[in-house]
């Protein structure tokens, strides 16, 4: 796919989304997306303009849809529902929030399907061919820190899905983290915080009153999207925690402890069986883990650079 979404006319874009010919590629994954939602179309224009697309069909890994929940809801409640291969596993959301629904549905699809990777609920960024995994529960400021790192020159792999592939010492498939660069999901005060610190950052539409409050997606950097097929070896695991007013604290985490914490954040550890166990063991052996508590971004960024510099 040589075509970028920014090269596609509004008419061709809308038509291909309606007639099932639209394809969007993120890294190794191609989706077919079908929708008539104007809100989703607008959101995609804002945060996916630099992604490879097709408006004339072709192979797809997953067929996603965002459609009116029912005839009645199309006109009265104005709700839309997410579907994978025609099945709608989740409750409808307000039509205006179609883009957020698409992002979450897409994440769920990947997390529950691509078992060629051990999929961890974590962000991944890269610098100098060293990938750093940010693993933390929701609400710890993981995505905000990811946005901050990415806006300071780190390459975005993902703010949500850490894809661990390969095996240590395997020459063809060495242990690696695979990029899956998508818009970074920010919520509530984080949105304004990042907008203030980085006026140049581009955002998609804000979704109000979701179960997470207000959510907005920040466009992934051009370079991260262009290099989406370049994996990197895992080098560090960070468990970040933002605490108001706390002094910077960097503390090592043992490999066993790190592994146990990562299992709790995994989408498919149990599906992978012994492969999952071995890959997780490889990961925590290859990448030392640290707990990082901070209240100022600049402290955290400096700590990231220091920890990475120590690896050599």
């Amino acid at each position: 796919m040589q075509l970028r979404l920014s090269d596609v006319s509004d008419l061709a874009f809308a038509q291909s989304l309606e007639n099932g010919q639209f394809r969007l590629r993120v890294g190794e994954i191609t989706i077919r997306l079908e929708t008539r939602s104007e809100a989703l179309r607008a959101g995609l224009r804002q945060v996916y303009s630099h992604y490879p697309v097709s408006v004339s069909g072709g192979f797809y890994d997953f067929d996603l849809g965002v459609h009116p929940a029912s005839l009645l809801r199309r006109w009265f409640r104005r709700n839309v529902v997410f579907s994978l291969s025609g099945q709608a596993p989740f409750l409808p959301m307000a039509a205006a929030n179609a883009h957020a629904l698409f992002e979450w549905g897409f994440n769920w699809t990947i997390g529950s399907s691509i078992h060629q990777y051990l999929v961890l609920h974590s962000a991944v960024v890269e610098k100098n061919d060293k990938a750093v995994m940010l693993a933390a529960a929701s609400g710890s400021g993981k995505s905000t820190l990811t946005a901050e790192l990415v806006l300071n020159g780190w390459r975005l792999f993902s703010d949500e899905l850490g894809l661990v592939g390969g095996t240590t010492n395997d020459e063809i498939q060495p242990l690696h983290l695979m990029p899956f660069p998508r818009p970074v999901s920010l919520k509530n005060q984080s949105i304004d915080l990042i907008k203030q610190r980085h006026p140049e950052a581009c955002f998609g539409p804000s979704a109000f009153d979701t179960q997470k409050g207000t959510v907005a997606h920040m466009r992934a950097p051009d370079d991260s999207v262009a290099r989406a097929l370049e994996p990197a070896p895992p080098t560090l695991i960070i468990f970040p925690k933002w605490t108001a007013g706390a002094p910077l604290r960097v503390q090592p985490v043992g490999a066993g402890d790190a592994a146990m914490r990562l299992i709790n954040q995994s989408f498919n550890y149990s599906v992978l069986g012994s492969i999952g166990f071995n890959r997780l063991a490889d990961l925590v052996s290859a990448a030392p883990a640290w707990e990082l508590e901070y209240s100022f971004f600049d402290d955290a960024l400096e700590a990231f650079d220091d920890l990475l510099a120590d690896i050599d």
Binding site: E28, Y60, D61
Partner: protein
């Protein structure tokens, strides 16, 4: 929505039919398999365990072939992982039920797996179905509770539905592992209008080989149970898979017992499933070209037409246009078959007023 011919149905009639699919055709085949819950079984027929295509996609680019192979390998791995989990769970269950003093039957997926039948290959299922005689239900439930399984919290109505009317007690979930067991005392709802000689079938169960204390229905009854499950339940999202089970069971048993189908038909009359098994066989023959003699194919009636629309591919691009309507009618028919009129009215009234939705918020 524009309709396309179904690559999945073409594959089921003859696997060689998919060799000429283009890239979109393969994508649609995978999507259909996903929505019908047969991805792993499809993978086991498309690919060897060392990742070689048995039926190769020759009209797609090498990159797309790799991507298809990856989906198949993942599906095979999921099947392996499930097989392992089922074996482990059966060991735990066997330990918990060892002193029960009555035969415990495995039904459906767990039975296929424990008996090593071809129908087990790539069959994805979430619950293990067990059956004991009704008088042993309290003992079995107590033994399972000691082993860590517990009936999930339910409202009083659902408890009563299961305890008074149903052929099983409410699902029991293991508190640590989260695995679920459905404990049955009959093969069909005792309140049902179709009377099945469940006790007769249970009485002739056969012991399963291996270290456990498990039993399963005898060969003919396995087919009959699968047929009754397909025709008397409204789980159409797995209809095609259930139909495929019947095809695989019949082909497997008939290979070593030449008069197997005839024996199934005789047995069906004995236990009250004569018409049901003929309807199931008709559907099976239409979808899989299952080798069946003409007398086995005398399916008839409106229900057969409705099931042709329901127990088939369920992808929006390939499913029959009548599927939505057929689903609704079959759902009402199932309720009507399960419960006599006074209970049916009561049940529908309750479910309408409390709502049936089980969907979750999208995970964020």
């Amino acid at each position: 929505m524009k309709k396309s011919p179904s690559p999945l149905l073409a594959f089921l009639l003859n696997p060689a039919n998919v060799e000429d699919l283009d890239e979109e055709g393969w994508s649609l085949l995978l999507a259909e398999a996903r929505v019908c819950g047969v991805m792993s079984r499809l993978a086991s027929l498309l690919m060897t365990s060392d990742a070689k295509f048995l039926v190769s996609p020759r009209k797609v680019s090498p990159l797309v072939a790799i991507q298809i192979a990856r989906h198949m390998q993942v599906a095979l791995m999921q099947a392996d992982s499930l097989t392992h989990a089922v074996q482990q769970e059966l060991t735990f269950l066997d330990g918990a039920l060892a002193d029960l003093g009555t035969p415990v039957l495995l039904l459906k997926g767990a039975a296929y797996a424990a008996a090593g039948l071809p129908a087990a290959r790539g069959r994805i299922f979430s619950d293990i179905d067990l059956l004991v005689m009704r008088s042993f239900i309290p003992h079995a439930e107590a033994a399972l509770m000691l082993g860590g399984w517990a009936v999930a919290k339910q409202d009083a109505y659902d408890q009563r539905y299961y305890r008074e009317w149903a052929h099983e007690i409410p699902p029991m979930t293991h508190l640590q592992r989260g695995t679920t067991v459905d404990l049955h005392h009959s093969l069909a709802m005792p309140t049902g209008r179709v009377h099945i000689a469940s006790d007769l079938m249970v009485a002739e169960a056969v012991a399963l080989p291996g270290s456990g204390h498990w039993y399963r229905l005898k060969d003919e009854d396995m087919v009959l149970h699968a047929a009754s499950h397909l025709l008397l339940n409204s789980e159409f999202d797995r209809g095609l898979r259930d139909l495929w089970d019947i095809d695989l069971l019949v082909r497997h048993f008939a290979a070593s017992e030449p008069d197997f189908v005839h024996r199934v038909l005789v047995r069906a009359e004995q236990v009250g499933l004569g018409q049901i098994v003929r309807n199931a066989f008709s559907l099976c023959h239409a979808a899989f070209c299952t080798p069946l003699p003409p007398e086995a194919l005398a399916g008839k009636g409106l229900v057969l037409c409705l099931l042709k629309s329901a127990a088939t591919t369920r992808h929006p691009e390939t499913r029959p246009r009548t599927q939505g309507v057929a689903d609704q009618i079959l759902f009402l028919r199932e309720m009507a078959l399960r419960l006599p009129m006074h209970l049916l009215v009561q049940h529908l009234w309750h479910k309408t007023t409390v709502g049936l939705s089980r969907k979750k918020e999208v995970p964020v």
